[in-house]
């Protein structure tokens, strides 16, 4: 049974049209929505859950869940925020389950953070000398930043990823996380400060 076809030309169609076609059972429209958003959803989930296998499965689960219930979508919010809301909720539920199964030692985490700070400081010092290994070190720096995001509290990590990586507006974040606009501002500020504390030696 063939229900999907790749018609990338249709990706240029706006979400509203694609969703309407999906609601009428058009498999091509479903395919277009997946191709259009799969990288962004995967990237966001990966930055929150920090595991590639889990991110791939959660991305798949997100699209299956959304396409299964697309007939219930009434357009009160945009499809984009609805899709990300499902993705974030699935990811956070998964993270909570995983945390329950394998709790991390706080002592070990603190030790790792200290080592990470020292390492970042040395990377920054070297990178400013503009030596030939700078590109490699910059890559390592980016990886350290990603690791630091993973060390943040769940709510800080999520809002930081949505704003600074997915580049969502405050209003979109409020819809995805189902929180007030004022909460978005204060939580985002605290999240940035928390990350800055982790990267203190690098960014000051």
């Amino acid at each position: 049974m063939e229900i999907f076809h790749k018609h990338k030309d249709n990706i240029s169609l706006d979400d509203e049209t694609l969703v309407r076609q999906c609601q009428h059972g058009d498999p091509e429209a479903m395919s277009c929505l997946i191709v259009k958003y799969q990288d962004r959803i995967y990237n966001t989930i990966l930055k929150i859950c920090t595991n590639r296998d889990d991110a791939a499965e959660l991305t798949q689960d997100t699209f299956v869940k959304v396409l299964e219930s697309i007939h219930t979508f009434r357009g009160k919010s945009s499809f984009y925020t609805w899709l990300f809301r499902v993705a974030v909720n699935l990811t956070l539920n998964h993270c909570r389950r995983r945390f329950k199964l394998s709790p991390v030692s706080l002592d070990a985490t603190n030790e790792n953070l200290e080592k990470q700070r020292e390492r970042l400081g040395s990377i920054l010092a070297d990178s400013e000398k503009n030596d030939p290994a700078r590109i490699v070190q910059q890559k390592e720096l980016l990886q350290r930043v990603i690791d630091s995001i993973g060390q943040l509290q769940e709510e800080y990590r999520t809002i930081l990823v949505l704003r600074d990586i997915e580049q969502m507006s405050y209003e979109e974040i409020a819809q995805v996380l189902d929180i007030e606009l004022g909460t978005v501002k204060s939580r985002l500020s605290r999240a940035r400060m928390a990350l800055r504390d982790l990267l203190e030696t690098v960014l000051t």
């Binding site: 049974m1 229900i3 999907f4 790749k6 479903m30 395919s31 997946i34 191709v35 799969q38 990288d39 962004r40 959803i41 995967y42 990237n43 990966l46 930055k47 590639r52 296998d53 889990d54 791939a56 499965e57 991305t59 798949q60 699209f63 299956v64 396409l67 299964e68 998964h94 389950r97 995983r98 199964l101 720096l141 980016l142 930043v145 990603i146 930081l160 704003r163 600074d164 990586i165 580049q167 405050y170 501002k185 204060s186 985002l188 500020s189 605290r190 940035r192 400060m193 990350l195 800055r196 990267l199 203190e200 960014l203 000051t204």
Partner: protein, 327 residues
């Protein structure tokens, strides 16, 4: 600087960096930074941090994600259709049963009345019934074996095979996908019910042995992605399991099609022992009456229950994919 002031200033920085600060907030922030060197440092640090975050590489979704979603959607559609059909069938059956009962009532009610009239006619004035000799006297003979002989030998729908194929891998997602695709390829999606946790996925399959054998062939390639493959089947003793390490396709096929429970258990035990030692069970062994010249086990003696084509019967297989987590 008090704590409240600090929190407000940090929020101002955040708003400013996002282009969300009003003109008044911008002016206020600049004024604060002129008088507070620490705040100015935080501003610079956050500005650089935002630039680094914006520069993070965008990870692309794994290839084949679209196909995986398609397979999952198709499987769910099949299951939903099956459920809908079942509902229709149940409703139809219920309606039919009601009509049948109504018809039976219409027939039985006059018969019951007629029986009552006859009963009144043949009833003795004393209250007893007329004595009749039973025809042939079967009931009077009281055969002790009556009732037990009538127990029919029911057809057995399942072959003895009931195994768990364990795949241990550190490429959990990829192996899961391959298994799903293999099941799909064999047209077994409707008979395969997956159960997934973080580290273990189980696919419960009930299907004819030929289909399951085809599935095993499709899974040959997945072995290279696994650190351990084993087949667990019921052992010779009740409750015990026999584990066949690294089972060969021929071994699995032989077990799948085996009709006799006794020979099935013996074969499983033999395979387990041979694989443990690294021997080839399918090497030519003239002295072995249970293996024919092709290496497959000789057909067992047909039983009453199994005296028909095994292809019409089913086997149960669970494919269990286990994630190997790094220490």
């Amino acid at each position: 600087m008090n704590e409240e002031h600090k929190i407000d200033a940090d929020e101002l920085i955040s708003l400013y960096l996002d282009g969300q600060a009003t003109q008044r907030q911008k002016t206020e922030l600049k004024r604060l930074m002129v008088h507070d060197a620490a705040l100015l440092d935080r501003f610079k640090a956050l500005k650089r941090q935002t630039a680094v975050l914006n520069a993070l590489p965008v990870e692309t979704a794994p290839a084949g994600l679209l196909d995986e979603i398609r397979s999952e959607m198709e499987r769910k559609m099949i299951l939903n259709n099956f459920a809908d059909n079942t509902k229709i069938s149940a409703a139809t059956t219920h309606l039919f049963a009601r009509r049948l009962m109504a018809s039976a009532a219409m027939v039985l009610l006059p018969l019951g009345l007629l029986a009552l009239v006859v009963f009144q006619i043949v009833k003795r004035p004393s209250g007893g019934l007329v004595d009749y000799e039973p025809i042939g006297g079967f009931a009077a003979q009281g055969d002790p074996s009556a009732g037990t002989d009538t127990a029919s030998v029911g057809l057995v729908d399942e072959l003895p095979f009931n195994g768990v194929l364990v795949l241990k891998t550190d490429e959990y997602s990829s192996v899961n996908t391959t298994v799903k695709q293999a099941i799909d390829k064999q047209g077994l999606m409707a008979q395969a019910f997956p159960e997934r946790t973080v580290n273990v996925t189980r696919f419960y399959i009930t299907a004819p042995p030929k289909k399951v054998a085809g599935l095993m062939d499709s899974l040959a390639a997945v072995r290279s992605q696994c650190r351990g493959v084993a087949l667990q089947v019921p052992g010779p003793e009740d409750g015990a399991m026999t584990e066949i390490v690294d089972p060969q396709a021929k071994q699995i096929a032989a077990l799948l099609f085996e009709d006799s429970p006794q020979l099935y258990r013996r074969l499983a035990t033999r395979y387990a022992e041979a694989n443990q030692k690294g021997d080839s069970v399918f090497a030519k062994n003239e002295g072995d009456p249970e293996l024919d010249e092709t290496g497959y086990p000789a057909p067992s003696i047909p039983t009453l229950a199994g005296n028909y084509d095994v292809q019409d019967r089913t086997v149960q297989l669970t494919i269990q994919v286990e994630r190997i987590t790094e220490e």
